[in-house]
Amino acid sequence: MTYIWYLIALVLLVIPFSAMVFLPINKSKPVLLGFFLIFIVFMYGPMMTMGVLSFQGPFGSMTLPAKDLGSLHWFTELRAESSLMVGVRDGITKSLWVSLVVAAITAVLSLSLGMAFRRQFRGGGILFYAILLSLMTPGLLLSLGLSFLLYYIGFNKGEGMLGYVPIIGVQAVWALPFGFLVMMSVFNRYDARAEEAARDLGASSFTTFREVTLPLIWTGVFGAGLFGFTLALNEFERTFLISGAINTLPLKLYIITSSSVLRPYVYSLGVVTIIISFLLIALFLIVSAITGRKKALAIEEDGSGVDDLPSMTAAAASGD
């Protein structure tokens, strides 16, 4: 009986591919659109189910069908003073702060690395691959190794602010290659001639950076930071074995799902987290909309501009 499902899966893969390859565009479009919709349903379906189930009444269940829809019970439940909810809220707060710090570190380090890699330097190639290596390191093993190391050097107490250092460190290392790649692509498209012009007009290196470089690339830096934030917010594997007494939100959720009776508050918690992520994306979009890429006013080709340009010399004569 299971083989039927394999067969269906195979057909689902083959149909859009063959539609794309063998049909003319106008005929393949509806087929591909249909499959795209299926894809969307599979991707967002669980999320929507979660959304629906989070609005159940107090007797809501963990699976469909939903009971007593239209209640905010499980959202108010998140504000309860039970030790469980206090722990969850604590996890959210800690995760947000840790992620913000990781975001800042990722942004600054990615910017510095991006600036460094604009020039050739000795060992640059090795450094490049060394940074990207952390993408391929298995997270759980890294966490395990690091926990032994921390134990060995006596840094495993996880007390006070010091306990955050390994968490932030390991998450920043995880986020850095992503931010770094963002900055590499930013500098790839970057036109350095404006900097040369600034120096020519009398700007110092620092002024050039402040007046020209940073304004031109800062959305990229912001993007690198955003990468740091989201990666840190979701980070579990690397943090798992080194967090000590500090539970970030993913760790807290893991503990809850593995040790207590699940109630729909996990869904409402999920909805809240998604809202936070969406707000972040919206913030980024607003920022990039404000800083530019507003389409240039429609300008006709240079040739047409000939007539409407007043002569410079005539202007000079009257100007003097």
């Binding site: 001639r193 006013l297 000939v306 410079m312 202007a315």
Partner: protein, 357 residues
Amino acid sequence: MSDTGLVLKDVYRVFPGDITAVSDVNLEIENGEYIVFLGPSGCGKTTTLRLIGGHDDPSSGTITIDGELLNGVSPAQRPVTTVFQHYALFPHKSVLQNVEFGLKMQGMDKTAREQQATAAIELVGLSAMMHRKPRELSGGQQQRVALARVLVTRPKAILLDEPLGDLDRLLQMKMRVELRGLQRELGITFIHVTHNQEEALSMADRIVVMGDAIIQQVGTPTELARHPRNEFVAKFMGDNNVLHGTIESASGGNVVINTPHGKVEVPGSGTAGEKGSMAIRASAVNISTDAVPAVNGVRVRLDFVEYLGDSIKLHLDFNGEPFLAKVDEERFGEVQAYEGKEVTATWSVEDGHLLEQ
């Protein structure tokens, strides 16, 4: 050594790997001159400009302006500014902010610098676009902003790297006249780099032809057009025929050279038996169906008639070697009839020009 103007003395620039980009450059540029560096790509003209602008350092030699040594002085501190190729405007700043940037760097207060920047923008005729961003301007307008941005700092010399390269032909022709007019108006030294002969001839007080990292010839446009010094210049200026041979005799201020194209007589002096080369401008070559004369004439086949609007360029073939002639536009009907046929190309003695070996 002159103590006014820009002076380059024994300037060399050798890049790592023993690549000589600029070699043995000696040049005196007077204040207020319009100088054009002309040469094919890779000839060292842009490197020379960068050396003057301070964006690169000479390996040896000195550069002075009004007697003041520029070697080791940063671009920011030099009294020269560059209009970069493709303009290099600050895309995130408005026209006004672009233009006032240099003054801001000099520490001028906001009111004063805005006033001066506004005047400079007015000078280039862009007052209506003061608050636009560069991407909202056409290529020609961007170029004006780039000009205003350097003019406002009142440099002793302005360096322009292929300033007309990004513009279409019509706008180029208009800007040639305007740039030249502006330079006369302001009396500032302009040093302009281009690979376009026509542009150089039409704009320069003096042209510096560079090739193979050295200065090949310095001269006024007419000197260069009429008297190219050597084969490089003759060929690079275009529309020159260069003939090589052996000097047969020299007398009465003329030499006779024996070339594969027959005997040619040119003004000049030389020793019989030595190698000799001469150049003849295409426009000095006439074609006819007459018999080939004893000297300064060659039998050629007219391969192709190129109509240029104000003149006609004739692509001639001498035993597989190209030979050029240029005749008046009115003769189009006549010369077209010769296409594919044998004709005689002739020129007078005084139009020929002896080249340095």
